[in-house]
Symmetry: C2
Subunit: 111 residues, 2 copies
């Protein structure tokens, strides 16, 4: 328990980029990857803040998943916050849609 608490409290809070500060090519590159598209689709089907990082069903290891989540944060697609030992996720749908109208819908309509 102590070890878990320590790990949590020492974890750096995630850095976020607002969609308004994201160039279109960064947004496209973030969504062009099949694992990241899958993460976005999973989040779109779940209410905000209900998905922990461990809950995603993607065929990659922990380090790769972590990298993909960093890319999604940097593209203004993902907000994360820590609650105890877990990190929870929210798709920034409204903000991203306002910045890039229709883009997310194109990704979500295909599986």
């Amino acid at each position: 328990m102590v070890e878990r608490k320590e790990r949590t409290s020492h974890r750096t809070a995630p850095e976020h980029t607002h969609p308004d500060d994201v160039p279109i090519l960064t947004a496209l590159a973030a969504l062009a990857d099949p694992v990241r598209a899958s993460l976005v689709r999973e989040m779109a089907k779940s209410p905000a803040w209900t998905r922990s990082c461990g809950s995603f069903d993607v065929p990659v290891g922990k380090a790769a998943l972590s990298h993909h989540l960093v890319v999604l944060r940097g593209a203004g697609l993902l907000e994360q916050r820590d609650e105890g030992p877990k990190r929870f996720n929210r798709l920034r749908r409204e903000e991203f849609d306002a910045r890039f109208p229709g883009l997310l819908a194109l990704v979500l309509r295909e599986e």
Copy 2:
């Protein structure tokens, strides 16, 4: 002159992919590259079939340019045809817009 003619007649006609057969992630990956986005933007500013491959102002060599054009064809973004020794280009704007509404506009609004 003979050499030029021969080179032309032996060139393989370009293979095309219709936008209707392109998955969204392929379209996103094609547009996420800065050189390809630049080619698309240049074509969007010119009437159809007025741009030869040599007319594009992009900072890459001939082989790299050729590769980028293949990727654009494969994403349903580019139609090409040979006229004598030159290959001319057309952005498939209408077909691509019909398949992925709004996507091209997002790329073209930013330079």
